[in-house]
């Protein structure tokens, strides 16, 4: 093979698909170095990002998954922290148990929050909406069909509605909090920038109770989230 472009294509394919292309006329053990380097590098990167998924799937299955991802050739991002994002987009299109997709989504959400570039809400922004709850800008409210936190070595987690708040606190530490369904609904509305009093009214109506009945537990939750660093500022009462 003399054409540089063809030659490069053949070399890339031999490495990506771990096959020995005779037309390259290279020593197998030397080609194997590249096949190993490329796979191990990607395996290491994704193992770092998807520790729980790897443990729950088992090494052999996870290796197969990384190999399939490598062969898919979908990687476009030059940024190493984004490879796990491209992997997730690809993985959710692949056939797999739903809990695996959910676990992967959870792990990637943690990475995205950990690295996000963001500014904390300014005093002016807080003052302009005093009846709103102001959250850490690096935050994700997630709901799953499976209790993904119970996934362990080779064990699928039980099917059980699961709500998790993931966020970065003012010390730039990634934190998570398990929520019940009512807290999830409360935070989902508040994260859409609705005022606390409106949110309490909406929730109370949907639950068929008076809004003052849910005000106290809601204020307790928000106070707790403020202590933990998910909430930056909140009204002192729900106006109910």
């Amino acid at each position: 093979m003399s054409n540089f472009r063809e030659l490069q294509g053949a070399l890339a394919a031999s490495v990506r698909f771990k096959v020995h292309d005779e037309s390259l006329d290279v020593e197998a053990r030397r080609l194997a170095i590249y096949q190993r380097l490329v796979f191990n590098n990607l395996f290491g990167l994704l193992s770092g990002g998807y520790k729980k998924l790897r443990r729950a799937m088992g090494d052999e299955q996870f290796r197969k998954l990384v190999r399939a991802f490598l062969e898919s050739g979908v990687s476009q991002t030059p940024y190493f922290a984004e490879i796990s994002g491209e992997f997730l987009s690809w993985f959710v299109q692949q056939e797999a148990p739903k809990w695996q997709h959910e676990l992967a989504e959870y792990e990637r959400a943690g990475i995205a929050i950990d690295i996000e570039t963001m500014d904390w809400p300014s005093a002016a922004a807080i003052e302009s909406r005093p009846d709103g709850v102001h959250f850490s800008p690096a935050i994700a409210l997630l709901s799953f069909d499976y209790a993904i936190y119970e996934a362990s070595e080779g064990v699928a987690p039980p099917k059980q509605p699961t709500y998790i708040l993931l966020y970065r606190n003012p010390h730039n530490k990634l934190r998570y909090k398990l929520l019940n369904a009512a807290s999830f609904s409360l935070l989902a509305l508040l994260l859409q920038d609705q005022n606390l009093s409106e949110v309490l009214l909406t929730l109370a109506t949907s639950m068929g109770v008076e809004s003052h009945r849910i005000e106290a537990p809601a204020m307790d939750l928000l106070a707790e989230l403020q202590r933990e660093g998910a909430v930056v500022s909140r009204p002192n009462n729900g106006g109910a």
């Binding site: 003399s2 490069q8 890339a12 170095i33 950990d114």
Partner: protein, 279 residues
């Protein structure tokens, strides 16, 4: 006339797992500058941005790119280049280097694959380097990579490297360990190779340890201590070209930081000794 990058002495490749040790009191003693891969830091906020700022506030920084795919055929990533350009200015980066290799073909592979040593490849990669330099509005340096195979070879490695440097009018990031590893793997004299390099194009250097796959096959893993033959080769480089600013690279199998700093000071001693001999 030699114009090295605007850093002096011996630097260390900044790796995440070393950071907390480096940030401890006295952690950076003896290290003159740091090198980092922009693809590991661009667009990162939070604790990563804080750490980067800690280092760039205190030390000169050089950047060593990994994903530009200079030797590849996929279109150059101008979004990456725009980000790199902004990053270099924001952190007052003293030099930006990349690899004389390709790292993708229909999607990235995230490793350094050898460009076939052919005339056609020289033209191709030199053109891409020129485009990058025009876009960045500054010269870049390219690294002589370690390679384990050279399919359909038309040119020797030194002919290939020198032809690219000349045609692209770019600088060289001289990887001393790679010269040593390649000289063993491809049976040539490393001193002879060094002697043919254009001194005026050298920006800075790398030094590292490597793994022995077989008697005649060494792999540039950056996962082992420096060995004496590589330090001796560094001495040969410094005697010939002067005290090239040099980065110690270590990518895994990390020893305690004190051991890496001992290697930094070993390199510095060789560098200083060569300077005394030259004066």
């Amino acid at each position: 006339m030699t114009h090295f990058a605007e850093v002096n002495g011996v630097g260390l490749g900044l790796r995440r797992s070393l950071i907390s040790q480096l940030q401890a009191p006295g952690g950076c003693d003896g290290i003159d500058f740091f090198e980092l891969a922009p693809e590991n830091w661009i667009n990162l906020g939070g604790r990563y941005a804080d750490r980067l700022k800690w280092f760039s506030d205190r030390f000169p920084i050089v950047c060593h790119g990994l994903s530009l795919n200079l030797g590849g055929q996929d279109p150059l990533d101008f979004k990456l280049l725009a980000d790199v350009k902004a990053f270099l200015r924001m952190h007052n980066v003293k030099c930006y280097s990349e690899h004389l290799s390709f790292c993708g073909h229909g999607g990235l592979l995230y490793d350094l694959l050898p460009i076939p040593f052919t005339e056609e490849a020289v033209t191709h990669v030199a053109e891409r380097i020129r485009v990058v330099q025009d876009f960045l509005e500054q010269p870049i340096a390219v690294e002589n990579i370690s390679y384990y195979l050279a399919p359909s070879q038309e040119l020797t490695e030194i002919e290939f490297v020198n032809a690219v440097l000349r045609e692209a009018n770019c600088r060289l990031m001289l990887d001393i360990n790679n010269v040593y590893v390649n000289s063993v793997n491809h049976c040539y004299d490393p001193i002879d190779f060094i002697a043919q390099l254009p001194s005026e194009r050298i920006a800075y250097a790398h030094i590292a340890g490597h793994a022995d796959e077989a008697e005649d096959l060494k792999v540039d893993t950056h996962g082992a201590p420096l060995i004496k033959p590589v330090l001796d080769l560094a001495q040969g480089c410094y005697r010939r070209f002067g005290a090239i600013p040099t980065v110690l690279e270590r990518d895994f199998n990390f020893p305690p930081l004190a051991e890496l700093k001992q290697e930094v000071s070993d390199v510095k001693r060789v560098q200083e000794r060569a300077l005394v001999e030259l004066s």
